[in-house]
């Protein structure tokens, strides 16, 4: 590398022999010799030269001034780089938006019709709806653009667990291939896994395997969840392995959706009840108990009462929530049997469950709770149950209200008005 050294003079000095240069240390000595000359540096000496230049830059000034100049230089360079990056980003975003808008205009409507269709369409039907001759016609746009549009459409149909034509559409448009390409190239892995997970999309199992043990927890978690949808040999491998790990609510939310997706397609489900029994993580166990009410078998649903005596309070509460949601009246007696041995928080959940059956057998039970409990919340729960249980219990609620003190009456009025208002709102909504 040839570096022209000129501090004061612009006159070219005669070339110095390399031997002279390299026999001298890279220090002030060398530069004093070659001032105003040019010299050839090789290897490490190039860096040493620059280090020397920086060290001796504006040597005649105080270090405070030199530092200030350095800050000025750094700020100017940074701002130029930032402006360049800013302009590049604007351009990229604009290009993407233009392409997206154009692609949406052409394909959004047919894609929506295809995805929303409950029947499995043939390739030919998909081509006809999209007004193309074959899959090659989709190559006009990048596969990732199609993936984005299809994901947006999927979002608007979030209430439908399984969309039969989605997988095929992703394949025909080249979106699946594009997403797999991203995984293969290790580009935007987290975003790609999110799309795969949101749809959900069946992708190459081998590509996911790379990320199932990724050092970033979020990537590995998403890859493991996607493995549940993509693997045909061992879909629940990681799900079972991770069962006892501490999980955040997001993991449970995603698992709920994936289990629903599987149930809709009649794909064999994991043994939820057995997993809930063996799970050491109480929150995960409670989640699985609650999942029984959504995706469990009939037998699993019937056996929910077994959790009333479970040592994990979270599981007891989850079972009661499930029973309340399903209105499983055959558990009524079992609830009563275990009521006395439960803590207050479980008792309140039991009251709600009993109330949801509307059998009319336990009106006096609610009255006794109201009269006997020192807890304000339990009293309120008992009164709410009395008001909602049956017509007969509502009469008793009113009788209790009449005999209540002025202070106590506020709670009665509150409950009455809340439910009356709710009924009125429902009526208004219907009308």
């Amino acid at each position: 590398m040839i570096i022209y050294i000129c501090e004061k003079s612009s006159i070219f000095a005669p070339e110095i022999e390399k031997t002279t240069i390299f026999s001298t240390k890279m220090s002030g000595v060398l530069l004093n010799i070659v001032e105003g000359a040019y010299a050839e540096f090789y290897g490490l000496d190039v860096f040493l030269y620059y280090i020397y230049s920086i060290r001796t830059w504006m040597q005649e000034y105080s270090w405070q001034v030199r530092l200030s100049y350095a800050i000025i230089l750094a700020c100017i360079v940074t701002m130029i780089v930032l402006m360049f990056l800013f302009a590049r980003n604007i351009r990229r975003r604009r290009n993407y938006e233009d392409a997206y808008e154009h692609c949406t205009k052409t394909y959004e409507e047919p894609f929506f019709t295809i995805i929303h269709d409950e029947n499995m369409l043939t390739d030919q039907q998909i081509f006809e709806l999209c007004d193309v001759e074959n899959a090659d016609d989709f190559q006009e746009y990048n596969g990732l653009l199609y993936a984005d549009i299809i994901t947006h459409i999927r979002m608007s149909l979030h209430n439908i667990l399984y969309l039969p034509n989605l997988q095929r559409l992703m394949e025909l448009t080249g979106a699946r291939l594009a997403l797999e390409g991203q995984l293969k190239a290790r580009r935007d892995v987290l975003q790609t896994l999110q799309i795969i997970n949101t749809l959900p999309l069946v992708v190459n199992e081998g590509l996911l395997a790379v990320y199932t043990s990724h050092n970033r927890k979020q990537v590995s978690q998403l890859a493991r969840i996607s493995h549940m949808t993509s693997s045909s040999s061992e879909p629940y491998l990681y799900f079972l392995n991770d069962m006892n790990e501490p999980h955040d609510p997001w993991y449970r939310i995603t698992i709920h959706r994936i289990l629903g997706w599987k149930r809709e397609q009649n794909i064999p489900m994991p043994p939820i009840q057995m997993l809930a029994n063996t799970c050491e993580n109480p929150k995960m166990a409670a989640f699985l108990v609650e999942e029984i009410s959504y995706w469990g078998t009939e037998q699993e649903k019937k056996d929910l009462y077994n959790y009333f005596e479970d040592p994990r309070v979270d599981c007891r509460l989850a079972a009661l929530r499930s029973i309340t949601r399903m209105g499983q009246a055959d558990c009524e007696q079992r609830i009563m049997d275990s009521y006395e041995s439960q803590p207050q928080v479980v008792r309140r959940a039991m009251q709600h469950a009993l109330c949801s059956f509307h059998s009319g057998k336990y009106t006096n039970f609610f009255v006794s709770i109201y009269q006997g409990t020192p807890s304000h919340i339990s009293r309120q729960t008992a009164l709410e149950c009395l008001y909602n249980y049956t017509a007969e219990s509502r009469v008793i609620f009113e009788e209790l209200a009449q005999s209540a003190t002025e202070e106590q009456k506020v709670l009665f009025d509150q409950i009455r008005t809340t439910y009356q208002l709710q009924e009125k709102l429902n009526q208004n909504q219907e009308s």
Partner: protein, 467 residues
């Protein structure tokens, strides 16, 4: 000799401040790029399709807001989140705030057995709507407590959801504001507070309770504040968030875990920086009880607020903030350098004292010294201009980063032209805005030290929202 020594102190102070800013820049970049890898589609889809998402209450105190209350409440009700309620606390308004709400939202009084979980001025009534359109709305009427903290506490006594958003009734929330804030809590259950980025709404156009044309403010004062807000949220808070050392979630918009707020005693009515005070006590509570916690800042702009557009209101606001800061420091000095309080005690608190509390004092003294030296002929002008240039360009560089980050995070404005306006403001802000902010802060400190009676004052709204 004294001046020479002082000069060196100020030089080192500025240098360390710059280093801290650069560190925060790097940290915030790390944090924002990691956070932005989560796509909005995935966030929405996860939340919408699940029965497990937590409920969120929006608590917004209102005091003499008759000009804008109807539009504002409608704006708050326009959230896409599936499980939320809006709780407006009428803090004893003297105008027609309550009457307008009753009339426009078909409210009826409902009896309520009020339980004081956290202290506040007496509760008077509760209202609910009979119109299904407004079924998520609850209005609490209470005796005026004199502070926002008191009104938020009344809301806390009424709400039942595990999370709540503390906002001002004049704030306009983006439709996905709750999604954005709740998502971090779904990913990390130990999060006790989430701060959303705020921006100025002056200069933007409203339609149907939502901002449709978002532009930077036309007036200079709100424009400077917009830049200041962005700098604070996108660099300061996001940087601290990366190392879990955030010490403030703005009172304008923040999501909190209800049980932790109640356990920490609710908002302090006597505090002039009630937001900072609340978060400090929440962290203090978690540290004392050895509960793992995290406080995070999200880069998305969730909330637009109308900033003071006149000097008079700006002065009142900043004097109050200055007073709040010194009061807060004084109240929580016991946390300083105590390992028990983790990064808050060991890092953030000393930093705030050194670089936020002392900065106006040092800047003000610096100005006085400069004036003195000019008169005595003691200024080396060449050195002065070089140093001045370094500081000025550094502040410009920070503003450039802010603009770039904001754009990367999705952008606050509808048009990219807004960013040029913001950069233009950054050019003149150090001369036309910053010196006044320094003076207002010092005034706040003096007021606190002298024990001058504190007044909250009323923010004059222009009420430009169109429904």
């Amino acid at each position: 000799m004294l001046l020479y020594f002082y000069g060196y102190i100020v030089f080192f102070y500025s240098l360390t401040l710059m280093i801290s800013y650069v560190t925060l820049l790097i940290l915030s970049y790390r944090y924002s790029t990691r956070y932005l890898r989560w796509t909005d589609d995935h966030i929405r889809h996860s939340v919408d399709s699940s029965p497990y998402v937590p409920g969120v209450s929006i608590v917004a105190p209102a005091y003499n807001e008759e000009k804008t209350i109807v539009d504002n409440v409608q704006s708050l009700l326009r959230q896409d989140y599936p499980n939320f309620e809006v709780c407006i606390v009428n803090d004893g308004s003297k105008d027609k705030t309550l009457e307008l709400m009753i009339e426009n939202f078909d409210l009826i009084e409902v009896p309520y057995e009020y339980v004081h979980r956290v202290g506040c001025a007496p509760f008077k009534q509760m209202f609910k709507s009979t119109n299904p359109k407004y079924s998520r709305l609850t209005v609490v009427n209470k005796v005026n407590g004199g502070t926002k903290a008191d009104a938020v506490n009344a809301g806390l006594n009424v709400i039942t959801n595990p999370y709540f958003i503390n906002t001002d009734v004049d704030c306009v929330l983006s439709r996905d504001a709750i999604y954005q804030c709740i998502f971090p809590t779904l990913q990390d259950h130990s999060i006790i507070a989430v701060s959303g980025t705020m921006s100025m709404s002056n200069g933007s156009r409203y339609e149907d309770g939502q901002l449709v044309d978002i532009r930077p403010p036309r007036q200079l004062i709100p424009l400077f504040q917009d830049l200041e807000y962005k700098r604070s949220f996108l660099i300061g808070k996001m940087g601290w968030s990366e190392i879990n050392a955030m010490n403030n979630v703005s009172g304008g918009y923040g999501l909190f875990k209800t049980d932790v707020v109640v356990a920490a005693g609710g908002y302090a009515s006597d505090s002039f920086a009630e937001d900072m005070d609340m978060l400090t006590r929440m962290i203090g509570y978690c540290c004392e009880q050895q509960i793992p916690y995290r406080v995070v800042q999200i880069p998305h702009t969730c909330c637009w607020t109308e900033g003071p557009s006149t000097f008079k209101i700006l002065r009142r606001q900043r004097v109050r903030w200055g007073r709040g800061l010194i009061q807060h420091m004084h109240k929580h000095t016991y946390m300083m350098f105590r390992r028990k309080y983790g990064r808050l005690g060991m890092l953030t608190f000393p930093y705030v004292i050194l670089y936020e509390f002392l900065a106006p004092v040092i800047e003000f003294l610096g100005l006085l010294t400069l004036i003195y030296l000019i008169f005595t002929g003691g200024v080396n002008w060449n050195t002065f201009w070089v140093m001045f240039g370094a500081v000025y360009l550094f502040s410009m560089m920070l503003s450039s980063f802010v603009v770039f980050y904001d754009y990367l995070c999705g952008g606050s404005y509808n048009s990219n032209r807004g960013y040029w306006r913001l950069l233009g403001a950054a050019l003149i802000e150090p001369f036309l805005y910053h010196p006044f902010i320094v003076c207002f802060s010092i005034r706040g400190y003096i007021n606190y030290i002298m024990g001058t009676r504190a007044v909250w004052g009323e923010m004059t709204r222009t009420g430009t929202k169109k429904n």
